[in-house]
Every structure is written in C-alpha cells, then in structure tokens.
Symmetry: C2
Subunit: 455 residues, 2 copies
Amino acid sequence: MTEQAPTKVDMEKIVSLCQRRGFIFPSSEIYGGLSSCWDYGPLGVELKRNIKQAWWQAEVQERDDMVGLDASILMHPQTWEASGHLKGFSDPLVECKSCHLRWRADELAGSSCPSCSGELTEPRLFNLMFKTFMGPIEEEASVVYLRPETAQGMFVNFQNVLDTTRKRLPFGIAQIGKAFRNEITTGNFIFRSREFEQMEIEFFVKPGSDKEWFDYWLEERFNWYVKLGIKKGNLKLRQHMKRELAHYAKDCYDIEYLFPMGWAELEGIANRGDFDLVQHAKYSGKSLTYFDEETKEHVIPYIIEPSAGVDRSALAFLCDAYDEDIAEGELRVLLHLHPTLAPIKAAVLPLSRRDKLVALAKQIYTDLRQCWMVSYDDAQSIGRRYRRQDEIGTPFCITVDFQSLEDEQVTIRERDSMNQIRLPISALKTTLQAKLEGEDLFVLPPGGKIWKEGE
Amino acid sequence: MTEQAPTKVDMEKIVSLCQRRGFIFPSSEIYGGLSSCWDYGPLGVELKRNIKQAWWQAEVQERDDMVGLDASILMHPQTWEASGHLKGFSDPLVECKSCHLRWRADELAGSSCPSCSGELTEPRLFNLMFKTFMGPIEEEASVVYLRPETAQGMFVNFQNVLDTTRKRLPFGIAQIGKAFRNEITTGNFIFRSREFEQMEIEFFVKPGSDKEWFDYWLEERFNWYVKLGIKKGNLKLRQHMKRELAHYAKDCYDIEYLFPMGWAELEGIANRGDFDLVQHAKYSGKSLTYFDEETKEHVIPYIIEPSAGVDRSALAFLCDAYDEDIAEGELRVLLHLHPTLAPIKAAVLPLSRRDKLVALAKQIYTDLRQCWMVSYDDAQSIGRRYRRQDEIGTPFCITVDFQSLEDEQVTIRERDSMNQIRLPISALKTTLQAKLEGEDLFVLPPGGKIWKEGE
C-alpha cells in the first residue's frame, strides 16, 4: 500500500538523484568540474534523446507544414552583425577596483563590491558570445563565434529551404542543436548553463496572419508539455512587458514552469515580425522574399518562434515526475515519467540466479531490447530491485519466476500503481507496445487477475 | 524497363544533388559560405538522424555491454594536457615570406611556395584545437577548448559510469556529438570539415583480452556498414604502419571506403591500451581502476576505440547509393539507400487533384506520418513524381487512383525494381512496416499481381 509522504521535491534531491543514478554529472568532474557545463550519463542521455525525439515527432514528422534542418554551430560572422548579436547581445559589467571581481551591474543593489565593499568601475558591456579563431593564425579577420542560438541557421537557410522543398506559406523550419552563451550568472543546476541545447522552430507566415499563428503556437507548445506529463498547475503563460521585449520582438510569451527555485522560463514564444529576413537581406544583399501565387506579390514573411531548451525541459520533466511515498513501510522515491520519456521502458527481473530461470529471463530481455531500452537486474531482493527501477522512472518491471518455466507466463508490475498482472510471454511485446503508447495499463487478458505488489 | 547507364558517381554530381534537393548546403551560404562548414537541409537532417539512430540502436540499445553518454563540448582544459592534445595535436606549418600564405610542411613537395614560388619560413607547430574564453575576460586562466574528439568525455566519466551502472568488464561507453578541428587542409565536400560529428565507442576490457576485442570490433563495425547497404567491394581494412600510429595507440586499423576521390578513412579502430586512464589518473590525482571480483585485484582496463564520423558515413552512404539508369527512355538518377537510412520512407501520390481523390490520399498520408517520415506530391505527371522520389532514395511510392475510391486499394511501387503491387489500404501500414524492416518486398497478397512501372 502507498501513502503520500509529506516531503516535496527540492533541487538538492534532484541533483543528488541525477548524480547517484547516472542522469547528469558535472562536466570533467575528475578535474573539479567546468563551471556550469554538464555531462549526461547513461540514463540522462536516454531521457534527453526521448525528449528530442518526442519534439521532432510532434513538430516535424507528424506535420505537413514543417521541415527539419541541422546547421553548423560555427557561422559566418556577418550573421551576427545582421542579427544584432554583435552589438546588442551584451550584459553591463562592473569590476571591483580592489579585489577585481566582476559583477552584473543590473543585478547589484548597491554601489560597492558585494565581496569586499570596494569601489566599482563604470559599467562596461560584455558580449555573451564565445569567440574563437578559424584558420592558422589568431587575427581579427578569422574571428568566428559559437552560435548563441540555433535560430539564425534557419533564417540564413530560408531561401535554400524554399528552393528545395517548394513549401508554401505558412510553413516552418525546425532544428535541434547546441548553443553557447558566456553567461555571467549561471546556476540552478542545468537550468542556466554556458553550453546548452535548443529545440527551435521558425514558423514563416503571411504578414497579417501572425497574431493568429502566434496564438496557435502558444497553445500547441503548452499542450506538448502537458501531453508528456507535466501537471497543468505547474505551467503558466507569461506575456513579456514592453521593456522586456528583445529588439526583434513584436510580442513574446514565456511558458513558465514552477521549478524548485520558483517560476522560470521553460520556452519562449516570440512574434519576430519581419525583422530577421529584412536584416539578413540587407546584410547579404540577397532577396529573401516569398512570391505569393494568389496576390502575385513578393512578401517578406513574418516569423513566429517557439524556442525551447532541451536541458530546461529535462529538468522540468525530472522535477515534475519526482515523488516520494511510503511503500511496504519504507520511503519510496519514484519518477512518474511519461513512458515516452522514461530512459528505460522495462526491466527484466529473474526471481533467482538458477540457470534455467536466467536462460529464460535473458531470452526475454534480449528479445525486448530489439524494440526498446530495457534493463536486466538480478541483484538483491525483488523489492529492492523494484525500488531501483521506480527511482529512475521505469514504467514496467517484468518478473520471471519458477512458475514461468511451467506456464510460460510472466508478471508485469506497473510503477505508479504497483499493480501487477500475469501474462503469456508470447503476448509480452504487443502488450508492452500498447501500454507504452498509452493504452489502459491493466486491460486484463481472459482469466487474468490484478494484485498489488506486497499482497 | 531499366538499362545500366555507363556513367559513374563523381563528387560533383553528389554535391549538386545534395544542394539541389536539400540534403546539404554550404554554411551561411547567403554570406558566401563559411570555409568547410556545412548545413544539413530538410533531407540531409533526416539522413543524418537515421544514421545516428541506426548506430545507437545497434551499439547501445541492442547491446547488454554498452551504455550511452552525452558529455559537453567544452571541457576542463586539464583534460587536454592529460590527453596530450595541447602538446601533440599540431600540424607543422610554413609561411611564404613573400605572399604570406601558409602551408602544411608535411604536404609540400618542394621548398618554395606553391602559389608564388617565394621562400618559406621554418616549420612552426600549429595547434588544431579551437580555443575560446570562458568568463568575463579573455585571460589565460579562462582559456577553454572546443573538444577535438568526443572520446575524452568518456574517459573522464569512466568512474562515474562504473559507480552508477555497476557494469563489469568488458563494457563500453558510446557517444554521438560534435567535435571541432582547426584543420589547415580541408575539403572533399563533407569529408574533412572543421566542425563535424562523431560516433565513438570506448570499450573497456581486461588487459590481455584486448587483441581479441580489437578483432571483434573490426568485424562488428565493418559489418555495420555492409548491413546498411554499403557494397563490400567498396570497403577495406587498412592497418596503420608503425610511424602512422598516434602516440596513444598500440594498434590501429582504418575502415576505408572507396570515395570518388579514392580510398579514405571512414572509421578508425584503435587499441589505446591503458594510455588514457593512466594519463587522467595522473593528471587528476583520482584512481581510475577497476576492481576485478575474480582475481581480487585492481586493474587498469585497456580501451578499444571504434571511432566513426557521421558526416563521412553520410557521404559514403550517399556515394554508394548513387546510381543512374535509363528508365522509360530517359536518364534516371536514383539513390539505392537502405530503407532504414532513406530520409523519406514513402511518398503518397494522388493521380489527380480532384477533391475525392485528394481527401483519400491526404487521409492515407496523415495516417502514415504517425509512423514515418512520409511526403505528399501532387505536382506534374506521375512519372516525374516517381523520378523525384527516386532521386532522394524514397523506397516506396503509394499511388492513389480513381479505382482506389471503388476497391479501397492502392498501388505500391518499389524504387529499385520499379515493380508495383496493388494492396488493400487497410493492409498498408503493416505491409510497409514489414517491407521497411527488410521483408521480401513483393510477397503478394492473395490474388495480387506484380507489374513494372510503364507496363
């Protein structure tokens, strides 16, 4: 039986679980870590892959009006002149004249150094783009930047996509990839890091229809998180105030999530107007217009941009899934991850290490691995093994016992309810398939029964 | 009917097809491109995703002895001291004293500038790592590098993986990700670029078993390419000569592919011995050993490293698939891509744009998109539409005609043979599924018939 424990999720528990079970490690940890960069371990990489795949499936594969793209991280420097990043993408910094520590001017309450109370310099703008040097010598001519957003790769390829896909407005370009920002203030685990991964859509529409499409994308993207299991009450839309709006934006909403440190941006959805195509046309000298067959006019499309973070999504899914209850009289930590996102879909657990049982269990395990990430665990008691799978969000445990050798049936146990059913091995694959795709978990086979773990 | 055309693949045709159909564009093309960086367009990104997914499925999901990882691109600088990259990862460069062009000393035949015949300087070592600056000011203390290989992310996480997964030797860590090398000599399209993507395995084994595992991985990786359709005759293994071996390698083979420009490395498989773990233990002061339960001894595992390039694989798969024949009296360009790799799995082609036909075709199209990347094409003659799909490697075309409205059947046409069968719409999904997974393409339903396109 399960009861609700009074404890709540906090960031420390999430970080600890991530490190302990191999979701996320500090980057280069054996060298003391690299400030605000993170490595995804064996479970984390599967979670991240599942998030990215769910996004690609929903926004590219299943849509008639979207195509994918994968642009390089290093782009021609003129891209950043046109986009405004070289001039505008800066934070005002001050330096302490005594201890030489640097601070963000807009985040300081007083006029003296928070560390030593020393006198501060005048604010100086500090560009957030990482720069590097391409070619044999470090000279100004060869300075290139790591992209601070994937978006620009889609703008500069607008004409290429138009020419090769014959898409008509409205249509979008979608991209998943790394971006880099030399942030002064980082933190909250993987929430704000210097290297991060984005899932961005640039959706091109006829001017005048932009308000309608903006509303459409707010709803579509909000619902994407809900469909994948985020509780509605932990999500909200927040419109940017005029003074918050980026230089390119006509309007912008954040989808915010109630992280352990409070409400914060999960995804930004902006109406960028025609800013980007106008700028790139101006700086490149190329025409970046769309010929409207109906009106026989060339138009500059408006752009709606839903821009999501893979890392922030991962953090939100982990926090939202985190739960503790009392099972079998002990504290149980579990992740209620949506089956689509769970790193491991099922675990095969032989009741003992006797040869015959192991042979059958391994055969089931090997067979299921053709379809999904599946794990095998034969160490310690069955209860401890269930707990280990609960803690990493595995939706189903498959127990192989001595009776399985007789009746060719196994027990499937469901993570959240701890309910169990017994099922022919021959029906295992199709049943798991259906249940992972959301079918009622305990549709019973004829003559089957349901009971709780521990009963 | 098809006949073999006498023409052969050359790089120019591949580049042209890639640009024309949206596989690969020069990066930031509207700004004149960025030297040897490339953007994957709508079809290219799907090809690349399919290659990476096939690799992950074979080497991680289906294996009991492998776990995944996704380490950050920016790593602690000491990583590169330990690995030897800061000292050793350099090319000798000379500069022309007249025209100031730079050349790789080891690639020059003579002692004068190939461009202006001027006098050359002494060779100078030039580090191939891209450097950048993390934090508010560009000072030596904050220099970090873009990783030149994903491998080091796996070495520095060896202990973390061991602690969190309880894996026993032999086991591997697999990773897919971007790497960057400031190459002096680039070229041959996406074969050698400054930004590229790797699929690397670091396989940890007991010392003494390394030779056996090295041989295993040579075979396993060679066969992976063959299973995905590369002709055996276009692949060969080439052992590195002693003087070619990298400083860390005990032995190394390249899997070479016969690219249009000749035999060149597709994947390198190295026996790295204990070099990496010894070095990182030394530089980090951490113990990076494995406790062998059988012998009760701490051992330093040896590492076998199969290191493949995503971009090179994409180029090899494209070149190997490229073909020309004569169909219906005209030149037909086609890509014999393996169904697993084909960017688009099927195209739905309504025979006319009449409402009723379009409604049925769109319904089929929408239904299939839930499972696969599928395209819809209603422009021009059916023959031209087949040619467009052949050219991008789509294995199946589904034609919806007026009879489909009566008998609820459609025609499936296969790319390579141009054979066609007629099939109930209700059987379409399961039939496509089976055929995409390799079932004999033309197992006929009862009463079905086969005929050739154009017959």
